[in-house]
Subunit: 283 residues, 3 copies
């Protein structure tokens, strides 16, 4: 039986409408590789973005943002301090925030940063399977930004991380999402689709993290917000692949598709399927 | 009566010719979101760019640049020191420089930085209406990088900033520009056109600031340089919108159009109109 | 007589096959202007990339990378320390690494950084002619990132740098490459083609440096790796120019072409020619 809190197509379509109607403001603290593309993804999808990652302003701005993204792609001592300030402020003010643990596992310094940030209870965690596994302390070698594990292998780790976050996703050819509800139950969602071109364009994963922060600002539950972002990306990338002939034209078509996707397209193309993560993990 | 120093189409066409003939070298100190796109905008339009934002080199390089852009988008302690060094050096050496006060108003630390930088008398200031209002100390909440105010509402603030700068512009659906002449008079210019897609692509405003620095290097007056950059962008974005189907393809077409626009196109498409800012402000 | 170690078309085609088969992981320490485009170039061409430029992780990661790129485009005190850590670690662990001396010559602080990094013996050095001349201590004013000298004028300097590196290239309308063999001999290669659009798109040179690091990870000799990267870029940019109408669409078509170029296309379009650098220099 599908968990009653599992997002439905109606939930995802309503979230898309809410995103377009409310244009939530994301505060991104992301890496220098993805900063431009992530902002363009947010603007194309229907949100807005301000990249505020200095320690003097990160905390104060987080209290006013619709959602906050903290991405560990290219940290240094200065931005690491800003991460902490933003996470603490978001947590204290009840602002939803997303942790994207880029490179956690293979890189020890940021692995420690990520563990510290969990104290501030991210609303959602989004990463590749190997990063989710490493963040949960279950081993896994991330080999930088690649994802060596199939996303399904990360389900037990994603469930374990639900002690620190309300919803967790592991990206891969198929994405796996899990979320807690208020009664101790857990809902799971599998999202297929997407495009084989996504790994050929940098920052598609990082910008998905930003889009999660935007959807968390408008969605009724963290898992719906997380699922809405994953689905928006999966549908847009599928359309983009049909309109491109390589990674350069794919990235352009992807931004166009994020902008043009409407709820009818979302409903007809989304490939979501509930699964029962707890039972699977425990049996 | 139009102020005798108000830029004309002839002035703007001559500035475009000068840009292409001289390929001025801009030194940009800009944010990590816009650094790549801004450089591509400058190269496409006909200038060149070097992003020198460390404190060891920023001042020395500013003395050799054609124009300098200081953009407050993602400052940290290191780049803030470089901003001061570059502004001071440009001021001392008579190199035109542009202040783009991104996020000033809502973000207190950078608001202080911007106030300090005014001491070095920017040749031009370019911002969204809310940023111009905030920089002039007239209130206004910038809500990050969005522009909540219509640009026209910023005219009194832009005029007030002419005590610190030679020319000031407020960007919006219609841009408003003001500039001082040598006799205490003030000229105003309204520039329409552009594209509703501009706010859907990040760094279009920041890169306009870079283009202002390039035009200041070749234009006979600051107001002509400022107006030439705004017009080049307005015309190119209008063409780009005709050749695109979303923000991704718009950004690509925009770079192409910045490159291909010639003086004939500029003359036929530019929508400039003089206005009388002082009278309007005082009456 | 062609030096027996001069790369042939067979060598370059084999290197392209090896790149695609092995997907080498590059560690980039590059500037904030090029970080995104460089990563997209590597992903499109067939490699992968992780931008690890903090001092806490740069050295440790370099020991595990396939190749390392150190690009001096936008250094600060933090990344400069990471450059040293990465170069030292790569040198100690026998990992090939590339030095891209952006802006060396005109900018004194980074000129000192580059001189220090030569101690760790880069496998390859890639720069514009003026940068290669300056790095060899033979004068030359780099005027930022532009290349004021024809690349051929840099040949004596490139040869002089072979005391510090195994292979050196100077980029220009025609690229000149030199490399040492194990017997004290020197091979030279001239690579024509490319596109006049390359200087109109930022980071095409910087991303070539990243691609050199990728090819060094899979090629049998440094000069073959260096030549394979230059040739891949020259052929892809030639194709891109045929499919574009300005710098925006050129950049998109360039990424597509880097992805689609195969060994047949490489063989039919590559314009390589051996030259005898030592004899030319000494006579």
């Amino acid at each position: 039986m599908t968990h009653p809190n599992t997002p439905t197509l109606d939930d995802l379509a309503a979230a898309l409408d809410a995103l377009r109607a409310q244009t939530p403001l994301v505060q991104s603290l992301t890496n220098i590789v993805s900063a431009n593309f992530l902002t363009n993804v947010l603007l194309a999808a229907g949100a807005s973005n301000a990249h505020i990652d200095n320690v003097h302003e990160a905390g104060g701005f987080a209290r006013l943002a619709g959602g906050v993204l903290i991405n560990l792609g290219t940290p240094d001592d200065g931005t690491a301090a800003a991460f902490t300030a933003a996470a603490e402020a978001a947590h204290d003010a009840g602002i939803p925030w997303v942790l994207d643990p880029v490179g956690v596992g293979g890189l020890p310094w940021r692995t420690g940063l990520a563990a510290d940030l969990l104290k501030y209870r991210p609303t959602a965690i989004r990463g590749n399977a190997s990063e989710i596994i490493a963040l949960a302390g279950r081993g896994g070698d991330t080999r930088g930004v690649d994802s060596a594990d199939e996303a399904a292998a990360a389900i037990p780790s994603a469930l374990a991380l639900l002690t620190h976050a309300d919803a967790v996703s592991a990206s891969g050819p198929v994405d796996y999402l899990v979320g807690r509800d208020g009664n101790g139950g857990v809902a799971g969602l599998r999202i297929a689709g997407g495009s084989a071109m996504l790994p050929r364009v940098t920052s598609t994963g990082c910008s998905l993290g930003g889009l999660v922060a935007a959807y968390l600002a408008v969605a009724p539950t963290p898992l719906i917000g997380l699922a809405a972002a994953h689905t928006h990306v999966a549908v847009a990338s599928e359309i983009a692949e049909e309109n491109s002939s390589g990674p350069g034209s794919f990235a352009v078509a992807y931004l166009d598709a994020l902008f043009t996707v409407d709820t009818d397209t979302l409903r007809s193309r989304a490939r979501i399927e509930a699964f029962h993560p707890v039972e699977k993990d425990e049996n």
